[in-house]
Amino acid sequence: MIRCLSPQLHAEHQKIRHTKALLVPLGFLGFYFLWTMWQISSMKPDEFPTGYAMLFYQLPVMNAILLPLMISVIASRICDMEVKGDTLKLLYTIQKPGSFFDCKYLNSFRYLVFFTIGQGLLILFFGSLKKFGGFRSEDYFLYLLTVLIVSAVILVIQQTLSLLSENQLFPLGVGIAGSFLGLFSMFFPVPVARFVLWGYYAAFSTVGMDWNKDTRIIHYYEIPFPTHKFILFLAFGVLIFLLCRTVFSKKEV
């Protein structure tokens, strides 16, 4: 299958040359760099021992605000050439719609992998720079895994919308609405929040926070990783992928 997809993937790679799509995750990583620097500059030295916990607690909030829109921008950027050029009819004479969808997806997914690795390196960089304490490799890898998986599921929806809409206003509007919903879902009771896909960045967090109003001391504590919920989410992701792929494949061009 990989051998069969290989020339198609190469074709996708050729299509996005000079589109500077890599600048999108790079720009967002640049922003995360500035934001983390700003966060650290306001930390007191006695907070450094819990520095990693602070990052693992706060980054999912930033992810819920920023990543849905970043993903919609990437998907729109990658898919707009077929939409603008109206080339799908021509393309389908040599490529199956399903395989086209897969190649597009794998192509966009690379940017998510790049972003996730970049974010992982940023965490390690700031952690070692300020000698943060409390590093747990389990938290670290689970954090990166959940960022990648949640983003991958959102990407399926955004890619489908971008490919189905002639006008990119709609998918990007969904991206903005997703950011809104993801952020607000953090303030909702858990039974309500679980229906908001964009809020899962925070739902899989392994760090919780207690703020004592009287002493004004922040205490971070561990939350067991919700393995069952994560497996269900993965199954939901696969289902969404198959559903979106089928909807796209059946689209009249």
């Binding site: 999108v24 950027r77 707009d80 990007l172 950011s179 809104f180 607000f184 909702f188």
Partner: protein, 243 residues
């Protein structure tokens, strides 16, 4: 000529998705903000003022600029397609009128979005059982927020004009907004165009002194707006278009 350009833009916007987006997206912070307010009545005790912060904090902090970015990308969308840049640049109208024709519509849509936010706030307040009508300051905050939105509109319109991609300016709008929150927290919000909307709306309920500081705010709005408009017009006059 400007009137003709405004009319032409009106024609282009007919049957567009901008109006549904402008009506639908502000409903999300309204519903979510009210829900959150109702969930936290024990902490949020300032009634209409508390509801205002819940409604507008995230809207003004993070989502307003991408929304404007979306409108601006849409309004330049036709020019970026096919060879339309050649057509529009050879039209017998000054390039400044082309830009301002679009800006007028973006400002009108922004005003509409702001008014709609105000109406949703009133409806939500009544549904949440708040007494009477909202305090008159809210109207001032909405208008001041609209004023603070002008530089964002000018900047996003400029970005969408230069960048052919529909989505990139929207992403820039989001990053600009989040940076705006940082600038605002450092107390230097008037030096960053994306912070001005948040300052104007008083969404975090802390900058009451802005009436006192209204002159620097107004100066910042004027300088940024003029700069971005001039940059856009200079760009249209001096740089070759890519059709």
């Amino acid at each position: 000529m400007l009137i003709q350009c405004i009319r032409a833009e009106k024609q282009k916007l007919r049957h567009s998705l901008i109006l549904p987006a402008c009506l639908f997206i502000p409903v999300i912070p309204a519903v979510m903000g009210t829900f959150n307010y109702m969930q936290n009545l024990g902490i949020l005790k300032s009634q209409w003022y508390s509801l205002w912060t819940q409604h507008t904090l995230f809207y003004a902090s993070f989502f307003f600029a991408p929304l404007i970015g979306l409108y601006c990308s849409y309004i330049w969308r036709l020019e970026h397609r096919h060879n339309n840049w050649n057509r529009i640049m050879t039209a017998p109208v000054p390039v400044s009128d082309l830009f301002f024709g679009k800006l007028v519509w973006i400002l009108l849509i922004t005003l509409l979005t702001q008014l709609w936010t105000g109406i949703l706030y009133l409806i939500s307040g009544k549904l949440a059982g708040l007494p009477g009508i909202f305090p008159p300051e809210i109207i001032i905050w909405i208008l001041r927020g609209t004023l603070g939105a002008i530089p964002i509109c000018c900047l996003q319109l400029f970005l969408s004009m230069r960048i052919r991609s529909f989505s990139i300016p929207v992403g820039i709008g989001l990053i600009g907004s989040v940076l705006g929150v940082l600038f605002n927290n450092e107390g230097i919000g008037i030096f960053w165009p994306y912070s001005l909307m948040l300052l104007g709306m008083n969404s975090n309920g802390t900058n009451e002194s802005i009436l006192k500081d209204f002159l620097p705010f107004l100066l910042s709005v004027t300088v940024f707006s003029a700069f971005f408009c001039l940059a856009a017009i200079w760009n249209l006059k001096h740089r070759d278009v890519k059709a």
